[in-house]
């Protein structure tokens, strides 16, 4: 009885307490891609009370201390705190982290962690860039990874991948600055990277200093871009479907003057040159009123040919999961990007698709098999099938720019009787673009990429603890076949409005020519790669020891050429004491058959060390909030075997060439000629690279930053001697004499904050790289300003603009060219050598190279419950853009708004453009006289990508769907550019005419579902 009483008493006293304190919470942990298994969920402030999420990300936890919040952690994600509402159910959406101390960072042939890393590596996770609506992974990296410089030259579907460099450029060799690209240990070519589907990517790292690239030795001097693909994780199958569709609009639509204004300017230019006007006042009036649309047409050919927008769509399905024995990741992707040309073919032509387009299908299966207790194997298989279509006419945008081929008044869109017109009174008299697009057929390239990788790893821990051996064979091939359906010039007619008669274009017949079909093949590459590793990783007390010995051999061939072979050995050793004192040694020993046997192999050592002050007791006491405060430095040697010229520059050979014709029948007699002299001692370029950095993490990793400073001395560069007289009579081989210095900064800052349940991140990135040519055996120049040495690679040279010639007296008293005649309103240049004549001696370094030396990015993101927003601003500074040719020159380019601001006697002071002239070689032509009037210092900032997403709460989801997310994303959304008046995209190639396919802005809606 007493016992009963005691029990009752106990219940009365304790039960109410425990009812309040012990609260059941259920929930699910996930990220944007779906559930996260194995995440730790524990009661806030009570680390001992925790559980792990299951395969579906679900968990069940009893809160014991009366609190109402949970803490959730998972490797690779920002730690999250969540309040449990009255329902007792929570959905935790985790944010991927970029600066966790223990995050795995992929480096060359292995992995490292932020805390122990001593080399220069920047990493980005595939998740972050997955939703950027572009076909090419390199378009997504700029502004996110410090040290990468990109320029997207064209927006053509299938050919819109950006050029990219790591830490700028430092080789005088034009092809010698492309980074090495390694995808799952297979070397990819520069343009193969653009074929990869971002959905397959787990992470991308760029390796920047000698400590990380020395192991690649002879191929490491330009930095390395390492891509790893996604692999299966333990758990039940998870199926992810992602489908999106978007609309593409040019970032910048050029504006051309109409026929009336163009005709006025044509007449003005002719009058300036003393020529008779081309148009009478009556013509001008008719252009203005538009009363005579066939006799005096006025067509804006851009608007006539291009659509306002075009579509793109992307669908990806992947499945991953695994058991102890087999883990798998399989994906399938389909991408399609349409071109921006209107459909002319289906109405008037043969229904051929002559528009630009790009379609790509790809698949990947990555299998990991645990064959025995110690033996694991991997089998990766991936294939990509791309198709790029182009109309069978020249660059359409280029033609629309080109005044010699189309003018607003040259032809009506179609003649009154429905027949096609041609550009009357132009040199080439081409039928109108709409006719050629309808009737001239297409050129279509089908490209296949196939990669197979087989690898095996034997764990030798039974033998020596921490030791393993592995080997792999990879096969990669790329081939393409093109199909061209083309016909001769279709008939077109000039309609004479006065006599109402039609005249056939003399360049064609009356009959429609038949189509001819042809095939072509431009790529056929094959590569076999073999690798073997001996790996050692063991921790003894406070010491961690890592070691790696590797053998690597690649043989690649293209078409019928003899394969180029590469073979290398590498050793890497690391010793880390208490994660405080860090030391890494790297050694690459490898060779390439581009060089003579005795010059083939080179040794590339690098050493790097780190000191993590945050682990020192005094520091810990003084600054307890600092989690990581690590100085690190590296120094080493890397090389590059990319050299111009034929594959065997070390020996002189004879070539076929120099044929001549003898005999009454003009029969060609074949010739043999001496090839360029060989250089027996030719060898690789070398780069001595220094890197100094500080890695800091503060306040539970909410703040982290990395500052890096690098100095590269690239020497022994293969350049063609500029100081050899042509009386030698033969080309010379390049010699290892060029020297370029390159130095700069990489800065990355990362702040993760939280206000209530709003989590946000601010991540600025700054990359600076400035190079300078120290030596390149330049011929001696007669004036110091003519030397290219001492300037950056790609330094433009030109005249210095000092105003317009004001009047005849000014012309007579000023320096001027001795060719052609000068008139008031012409561009006046500085006479550097003071000889009264403007000629080549007066050209000096002007402006900057086209590759920006400063690249910045700012990523901002925020997440509130299921909503997230992420934007990236990217900008480039300190570069120049040269305007010339069909981009700007009168009678080569369409007349543009800038031409309205030309110099005239009435507008002598505010002119933005010189006097108009018909003379293509006048002093006003940038082609003949490049100057800083035409070479503009440029900078831009782009709202490069935007993502808005909403994660649908799991409890609302029907069927077996466990994750659903809706998102809007955009690419190149807005651009702020300092020289917009010239209507060029800020990323077009300098000195090109800026008439390539317009870069596109993409706005995209997507849905992602997981099962």
């Amino acid at each position: 009885m007493r016992k009963i009483f005691l029990k009752l008493l106990f219940c009365l006293l304790v039960l109410p307490v425990s009812v309040i304190a012990q609260r059941q919470v259920t929930g699910v942990v996930k990220d944007q891609n779906g559930p996260i298994s194995n995440a730790s969920v524990y009661e806030n402030g009570n680390v001992k009370n925790g559980v792990r999420s299951d395969e579906d990300g679900r968990f069940k936890l009893t809160l014991r201390q009366g609190g109402d919040s949970l803490t959730v952690t998972s490797v690779g994600y920002v730690q999250q705190g969540v309040r449990v509402g009255s329902s007792g159910y929570v959905e935790v959406i985790m944010q991927p982290s970029t600066n966790d101390l223990n995050d795995v960072i992929v480096s060359g042939y292995g992995t490292t962690q932020r805390i122990t890393n001593t080399g220069s590596i920047s990493t980005i996770k595939g998740d972050v860039i997955r939703s950027v609506p572009t076909a090419n992974v390199q378009n997504t990296l700029s502004g996110r990874l410090p040290g990468i410089f990109t320029q997207q030259r064209s927006g053509q579907p299938g050919k819109d991948a950006a050029d990219y460099y790591i830490r700028g450029v430092s080789s005088l060799n034009p092809a010698g600055n492309q980074p090495l690209i390694i995808v799952d240990d297979i070397e990819y070519t520069y343009d193969q990277l653009q074929q990869i589907n971002v959905n397959e990517i787990e992470s991308i790292s760029i390796l920047k200093d000698a400590a990380t690239t020395a192991i690649y030795g002879i191929k490491g001097a330009n930095g390395v871009l390492v891509v790893t693909t996604r692999r299966g994780k333990l758990g039940r199958p998870q199926i992810n479907v992602r489908t999106e569709a978007g609309v593409q609009v040019p970032t910048n639509v050029p504006n051309y003057l109409d026929a009336y204004n163009s005709a006025l300017l044509v007449n003005e230019a002719r009058q300036n040159d003393g020529l008779t006007p081309l148009f009478t006042q009556n013509d001008i009036d008719l252009f203005k009123t538009g009363e005579d649309p066939y006799g005096h047409p006025d067509v804006n050919w851009y608007n006539a040919i291009f659509k306002k927008n075009s579509m793109q769509a992307n669908t990806n399905v992947d499945i991953s999961g695994g058991t102890e024995a087999v883990k798998y990741f399989a994906s399938f992707g389909a991408f399609t990007q349409n071109g921006s040309i209107k459909d002319f073919s289906s109405k008037n032509g043969d229904g051929l698709n002559t528009n630009y387009f790009f379609r790509r299908f790809d698949f990947r299966t990555n299998l990991d098999i645990q064959a025995t207790r110690n033996l694991s194997m991997r089998i990766d298989l991936t294939g990509r099938f791309g198709m790029v279509n182009e109309p069978n006419t020249d660059n359409i945008m280029g033609e629309i720019y080109d005044f010699t081929r189309s003018t607003p008044y040259g032809a009506p869109f179609v003649n009154p009787d429905g027949s096609y017109a041609y550009m009357y009174n132009t040199v080439s008299m081409l039928p109108t673009l709409n006719e050629r697009l309808a009737l001239l057929g297409y050129s279509r390239v089908k490209r296949n990429d196939l990669n197979i990788l087989f690898g095996a790893k034997e764990n030798l821990s039974d033998l020596v603890k921490g030791l393993s051996i592995s080997g792999q064979v990879a096969y990669a091939s790329t081939w393409d076949v093109g199909r061209k359906l083309l016909r001769g010039m279709p008939p077109s007619y000039h309609y004479d409005a006065a006599s109402k008669t039609y005249t056939l274009n003399p360049n064609s017949g009356y009959n429609m020519p038949t189509y001819a079909l042809s095939a072509f093949n431009s790529i056929s590459n094959k590569q076999v790669n073999l690798q073997g590793f001996l790996n050692y990783d063991r921790t003894f007390g406070n010491s961690q020891v890592k070691g790696l010995v590797l053998f690597n051999q690649t043989s690649s061939s293209s078409m019928a050429s003899t394969p180029s072979n590469f073979r290398g050995y590498g050793i890497s050793a690391g010793y880390y004491y208490k994660q405080k004192y860090l030391l890494d040694l790297k050694l690459g020993y490898n060779g390439s058959d581009r060089f003579k046997t005795e010059h083939r192999f080179g040794l590339f050592p690098a050493v790097s060390a780190g000191w993590n002050l945050a682990e020192e007791p005094f520091f810990k006491q003084a600054f307890p909030f600092i989690k990581l405060f690590k100085f690190r430095a590296s120094y080493g040697l890397v090389g590059s075997d990319v050299v111009g010229g034929n594959q065997y520059i070390y020996r002189q050979v004879y070539n076929r060439g120099g044929s001549y014709s003898f005999g009454e029948n003009n029969s060609v007699a074949s010739g043999i000629q001496e090839g360029a002299l060989g250089n027996e001692s030719v060898t690789w370029e070398k780069k001595k690279s220094q890197n100094y950095a500080l890695d800091v993490n503060l306040w539970d990793n909410h703040v982290s930053f990395t500052i890096e400073r690098f100095y590269d001395n690239r020497y022994d560069q293969l350049v063609y001697p500029g100081s050899i007289s042509a009386i030698l009579g033969i080309g010379t081989a390049p010699v290892n004499i060029g020297i370029v210095h390159n130095q700069g900064w990489d800065l990355q800052f990362n702040f993760q904050g939280k206000i209530g349940e709003l989590q946000y991140g601010i991540m600025p990135v700054i990359s600076l790289a400035n190079n300078k040519v120290i030596y390149k055996d330049e011929a001696f120049q007669r004036y110091p300003w003519l030397f290219e040495t001492g300037h950056p690679i790609g330094q433009p040279f030109g005249y210095t603009w000092i105003g317009f010639y004001k009047n005849q007296a000014d012309i007579d008293s000023s320096a001027r060219p001795n060719v052609g005649s000068i008139h008031p309103g012409d561009l006046k240049y500085k006479d550097l050598n003071g000889d009264g004549t403007i000629d080549e001696s007066d050209m000096s370094a002007i402006g900057r190279p086209n590759l920006p030396s400063t690249n910045i990015g700012l990523t901002l993101n925020a997440q509130y419950k299921g909503f997230n927003v992420s934007v990236l601003f990217q900008g480039a500074f300190n570069y120049s853009l040269a305007l010339k040719g069909t981009g700007i020159e009168p009678f080569q380019s369409q007349f543009q708004p800038v031409h309205l601001y030309r110099w005239t006697p009435d507008n002598p002071d505010d002119a933005l453009f010189p006097r108009l002239t018909t003379d293509p070689a006048s002093v006003n032509s940038p082609t003949a006289y490049m100057s800083d009037f035409w070479l503009k210092n440029a900078h831009y900032i782009r709202l490069k990508s935007v993502e808005l997403g909403y994660q649908v709460p799991t409890k609302w989801l029907p069927l077996k769907i466990n994750n659903a997310r809706l998102y809007f994303s955009a690419y190149n959304l807005f651009t702020w550019f300092n020289i917009k008046i010239y209507q060029q995209d800020p990323e077009v190639e300098s000195n090109s005419v800026g008439d390539s396919y317009l870069n596109q802005r993409v706005m995209n809606l997507g849905l992602q579902i997981g099962f």
Binding site: L375, E458, Y654, F662, N666, I672, F891
Partner: protein, 559 residues
């Protein structure tokens, strides 16, 4: 398992190393070209063919224009091109559209390499006359090398003579220029060495285009003619500079030139072709001594036909506009210059009864072509006044074109760019002999035979001409006979008349057609050339050559 992996790796590795060759086996090395077993010398023969390919290109080689568009004979229809730069005195050490320096030295090197190595090849082939081929081939290379030096000499004066040496990359390439005299002597000596070994004339049809004995004689004769000319012989632009010319004046040099040309005439192998136009479009005619097969094509027609014919066959781009000065240089068909009051020239009907060569050289208004007369009156089909490139002078260049007066379209022609033809030899002889001996009978004979073939009637010249009158006639005869053959450009230099010829405006003709069809002709200036004497008489050595070779002396006056 690990063993299996190792084994697989090993087999793949070892098979790899055996699959591929280590060296570029598909490439030619010394041993292939100078093959010690090849009695046919096939590869060596191909090497010789290649040396020919360095012979200068002719015809419309400068942006679609003839070199002659940089003289008072013509201008480019499109402003701003290479020839306009040249006609405006725009050649500089940095910019010379007609540099040719590197190409000639490439040819010189190839020829020397051939001469040095051909003895390794056990040639057994023979000429039809039984002579072994080896000395023939060697002489061809020697002749070509001399030709290349001549091309350099006329541009630059004395140039570095490389001898038979073929330099390698570690050899000293800092070789100074030889004097003008040594350069001339070397060319002449090399020609003389080659003359007796070369193929006899005329060469058989399948070897048309190969150097012959007379080709070497003609090169020698032209070299001596140039060397005897005022620019080098007595009027050196920098007195005492042995690089830019002779440091003395010696009339014997005219004699040497006359003898060298006379030797060819005396051989009697070549003769003037009865039809002036056939010389340029028929293979193996009696007049052509050495020429380059340009191809069976209608490039001349495409480049230079009056633009109103575009579409008739291919293109008609009218790139070169002959000047009024050239047209006026042609006499009347009666042989009298149009300035002669007895000539019958009518300025209101200027193309009536002129030297037939005018009609073969220039398209004037009314010339028949492809079934209709050319219309170069204002707003005519061939001068429509649109912004299409068209004649600036009222004339188009016609020389070298086929006989398409009544055709409906162009057909391919066997087109040869002639380096040496017999008419030039006659004119060379006449010029040199007139300078040396005065207007003796053989001078008359030579020049009258050219005029006779041209179709002048009477072709005889007045018998009482003095030396200066004869010189004027010879100079004019060279101009009209060899228009567009890259002669006048060099002639106005070696005669040292470029500073007067090239510093006055060139003219064209404006033709207005009234509603009744009557034509009025007005001569108008169209282009102002520029030529700065004396330094522009020689080309500047390109800046890179001066900068890279401490021994290289720039030509006088060039900075």
């Amino acid at each position: 398992m690990i063993l299996i992996v190792s084994f697989v790796t090993f087999t793949v590795l070892s098979s790899c190393s055996k699959t591929w060759e280590d060296e570029p086996l598909e490439r030619f090395t010394d041993e292939y070209v100078w093959d010690v077993h090849d009695s046919l010398g096939q590869k060596a023969g191909d090497f010789l063919n290649q040396i020919y390919s360095y012979l200068p290109q002719g015809f419309t080689r400068l942006d679609g224009n003839y070199l002659d568009a940089a003289t008072d004979d013509a201008i480019s229809s499109q402003p701003g091109g290479a020839v306009e730069v040249m006609a405006s005195g725009g050649i500089s050490p940095f910019n010379n559209p007609d540099d040719n320096w590197g190409k000639m030295y490439t040819g010189i090197r190839a020829a020397s390499l051939f001469i040095n190595n051909i003895d390794k090849v056990p040639l057994s082939i023979k000429l039809p006359d039984g002579r072994s081929m080896r000395p023939v081939w060697k002489a061809e290379a020697r002749f070509l090398r001399a030709f290349f030096y001549f091309e350099l000499m006329k541009r630059y004066g004395g140039v570095p003579l490389m001898g038979d040496k073929v330099l390698q990359s570690d050899d000293n390439v800092q070789i100074p220029r030889s004097s003008f005299k040594r350069t001339v002597d070397y060319i002449v000596q090399q020609c003389e060495l080659a003359i007796d070994s070369l193929r006899p004339d005329p060469v058989d049809m399948i070897n048309l285009g190969r150097a012959t004995k007379v080709a070497a004689m003609a090169l020698k004769a032209r070299t001596l003619l140039y060397a005897a000319s005022p620019l080098y012989n007595g009027e050196n632009i920098a007195a005492g500079d042995s690089l830019s010319g002779y440091i003395d004046k010696d009339p014997e040099r005219w004699h040497n030139a006359a003898v060298a040309a006379g030797d060819i005439i005396n051989l009697g192998v070549y003769s003037l072709d009865a039809d002036f136009r056939d010389v340029f479009i028929t293979a193996g005619n009696s007049e052509t001594i050495f020429a380059r097969n340009a191809g069976d094509y209608h490039q001349m027609e495409d480049d230079n036909s009056p633009i109103g014919y575009s579409g008739t066959s291919a293109y008609a781009n009218g790139r070169t506009s002959p000047t009024e000065e050239l047209v006026d240089a042609f006499p009347m068909a009666n042989g009298l210059p149009i300035t002669d009051i007895n000539s019958g020239y009518d300025s209101t009907n200027p193309y009536f009864q002129r030297d037939p060569r005018l009609y073969y050289t220039v398209f004037c208004n009314g010339t028949d072509w492809l079934g209709r007369p050319v219309e170069t009156f204002n707003d005519g089909l061939d001068r429509p006044g649109t912004d299409k490139v068209q004649t600036l002078t009222g004339y188009y260049a016609k020389k070298f074109m086929g006989k398409f007066e009544t055709s409906t379209s162009y057909a391919n022609e066997h087109q040869t760019f002639i380096y040496f033809r017999y008419a030039e030899v006659l004119l060379n002889y006449a010029e040199a002999e007139n300078e040396y001996e005065g207007p003796v009978g053989s001078v008359y004979t030579a020049i009258e035979s050219v005029r006779q073939r041209a179709g002048l009637n009477p072709y005889k010249l007045p018998a009482d001409l003095n030396k200066d009158q004869m010189r004027a006639i010879i100079h004019n005869e060279r101009r009209i006979e060899m228009a567009f053959e890259e002669q006048r450009y060099w002639d106005i230099r070696r005669w040292k008349i470029a500073d007067s010829v090239m510093n006055q405006p060139f003219h064209g003709i404006e033709i207005i057609r009234s509603s009744s069809g009557a034509l009025t002709y007005t001569i108008v200036p169209v282009f102002s050339p520029r030529f700065t004497a004396p330094y522009q008489y020689l080309y500047p050595i390109s800046y890179n050559e001066v900068a890279s070779n401490e021994q290289m002396k720039q030509n006088p006056g060039w900075k």
